[in-house]
């Protein structure tokens, strides 16, 4: 559906996007992750034809961005970061204007606007100036704008930034809903969001792709520290430390807290094998009361931090 080849963008001598390659299948929801200034927005701006690439190519279906810009714009919907809309216009007038530019006319126009107003939940602000709307509503108007032409590819730049938790859930629901039929690319720096909504995640850092795959794949592929946490009663840290360090794969045993006789500790190890049986059998030999015992899954946060660390 979308093919990005050796895409590069220079702003004067600053390289914002450095030879990135990826492709997106039809119906996929792709999350573009990265720290601030990694080149997410620049990449999206090139995809939507707003910026021209310094070199490299983008193909959407069988259209190429430098030759068929207008055709690509017709099948694309784009919500820029923080939805920069005309402040003086009423929401209805604005959507009307967008529909006219998208060449939706007559009866179809009204039904399309009504449908989008329902979908994005902006019925009650249709006759307010955009400048007076709260951030959340502005974002929804922007989303309605992006979906006006029923786009085959929807590009969303930080669609949930600045929204309250309820609105975030709603917007995600809308994205999931649309994503059933459409190809969606969204950028975000909220990792849980990428994990919750995206089929595939591409992490970029300093203009380069550092990881590409589903959230599950990413978690498996990076070999980080595994962490196990447990809480026990009827034991002191000294003996717990000595006992558990008997397991040779364990790297470290650290105390998290000790209150009311409950000792919480965390165990870290690098081995790929599951150490839970070994730890449990050690504990069984003692007379500690085991209150809590779980293995922490490698979180996307850790992977992200590891991959996007400077240098």
């Amino acid at each position: 559906m979308i093919l990005v080849e050796n895409l590069t963008k220079y702003f004067h001598s600053l390289c914002a996007v450095d030879q990135i390659n990826f492709d997106i299948q039809k119906g996929e929801i792709l999350g573009l992750l990265g720290p601030n200034g990694a080149g997410k927005t620049t990449t999206l701006r090139m995809l939507t034809g707003y910026l021209r690439p310094s070199s490299g190519n983008i193909r959407i279906k069988d259209l190429s961005i430098d030759k068929d810009t207008l055709e690509i714009k017709k099948i694309l919907g784009y919500l820029p970061e923080s939805a920069p809309l005309y402040h003086d216009m009423l929401v209805f007038d604005y959507l009307n204007y967008v529909a006219a530019i998208r060449q939706i006319n007559g009866k179809k126009k009204m039904s399309r606007i009504r449908h989008l107003a329902d979908l994005c939940g902006i019925n009650e602000v249709m006759h307010q100036p955009i400048g007076e709307l709260s951030k959340g509503y502005k974002q929804r108007v922007g989303l309605a704008h992006a979906m006006m032409n029923d786009p085959e590819v929807l590009v969303l730049d930080e669609p949930t930034s600045g929204l309250d938790p309820n609105q975030i859930v709603e917007i995600r629901k809308i994205i999931k809903e649309i994503g059933k039929e459409k190809t969606i690319i969204l950028s975000t720096h909220i990792l849980s969001e990428a994990e919750a909504t995206c089929d595939r995640i591409v992490i970029i850092s300093q203009g380069k792709i550092v990881a590409d795959g589903s959230a599950e794949n990413l978690k498996q592929s990076t070999r980080g520290k595994n962490i196990m946490k447990l809480s026990v009663q009827n034991a002191d840290f000294q003996t717990v430390h000595e006992t558990l360090m008997g397991i040779k794969e364990l790297d470290d045993v650290t105390r998290i807290s000790e209150t009311d006789g409950i000792l919480s500790i965390s165990l870290s190890y690098r081995s790929k094998a599951d150490l839970r049986p070994k730890v449990y059998s050690k504990i069984k030999e003692t007379n500690w009361v085991l209150l809590e015992f779980h293995q922490e899954t490698q979180s996307l946060e850790n992977i992200f931090r590891e991959l996007t660390k400077e240098n």
């Binding site: 034809g49 784009y78 006219a100 530019i101």
Partner: protein, 234 residues
């Protein structure tokens, strides 16, 4: 081209949604009305000559004020990103906004028709120069609009856009008044560049193709420069 008409319609109505149009039209009518009628009875002539004499200078101030927001505001809010990722070209955007500004100038000139109508009540008015003057005023307004639009495409700050537009329009208006400082060999070129010179020709009632061509070429240069300025942002 169809897209340009949508942009035109949106921009033109935007003038009348915000208070800009009303303020600019009021100031324009006040200034031209005052200067016209203040000396009208002294000259004791049934003509609009004093109105047209002043028009280029007034336009040099008023038109950059009309055009300053056209692109600057988009750049400032960031809405150019939304506009240019819809299926429109930079050319549609420039043309739509240019004609919105020209239409605004026509709307501003319509109330001034009260001046010739008042004058006909008091004496024999020759309508030839009056009509010529209005055609010239629209051409001059279009040329200054193109320059103002270019200034607006340069910066995201509307005040800077206004000042750049004002400086260029003002220089074009006054250039043929400053000819005594120039060597003789350059006189021809510089007097041809003067907007006032060409406007006064048309305002005499003679519509010469050279004068029309002058305004059309200023429009073209201004719009093309605005187009390049907008494209360079990409």
């Amino acid at each position: 081209m169809r897209q340009a008409t949508h942009i035109f319609r949106k921009e033109f109505s935007a003038y009348f949604i915000s208070p800009i149009a009303y303020i600019v039209i009021s100031i324009f009518l006040l200034v031209t009305g005052w200067f016209f009628f203040a000396t009208f009875f002294l000259f004791n002539q049934a003509s609009l000559r004093t109105f047209y004499a002043l028009l280029p200078v007034v336009f040099a101030f008023v038109i950059p004020a009309i055009t300053m927001r056209l692109i600057s505001e988009e750049l400032n809010v960031g809405s150019d990103e939304i506009l240019l990722t819809m299926p429109v070209t930079a050319r549609d955007v420039i043309l739509g906004k240019f004609f919105a500004s020209v239409a605004m100038i026509v709307a501003m000139l319509i109330p001034t028709l009260a001046y010739p109508l008042t004058v006909t009540l008091m004496g024999q008015l020759d309508w030839g120069p009056v009509i010529g003057g209005y055609i010239g005023a629209v051409l001059l307004g279009a040329a200054f609009s193109a320059i103002g639009l270019f200034a607006s495409a340069l910066t995201r700050n509307q005040i800077i856009a206004f000042i750049i537009g004002l400086a260029i329009c003002f220089a074009l208006t006054l250039i043929d008044k400053l000819l005594y400082f120039l060597p003789q060999s350059l006189l021809g070129v510089f007097s041809y560049l003067g907007a006032d010179f060409h406007f006064q020709n048309i305002a005499k009632g003679i519509i010469d193709s050279r004068d029309v061509l002058y305004f059309v070429s200023i429009c073209f240069v201004g719009l093309y420069a605005a187009y390049l300025a907008l494209r360079s942002k990409q």
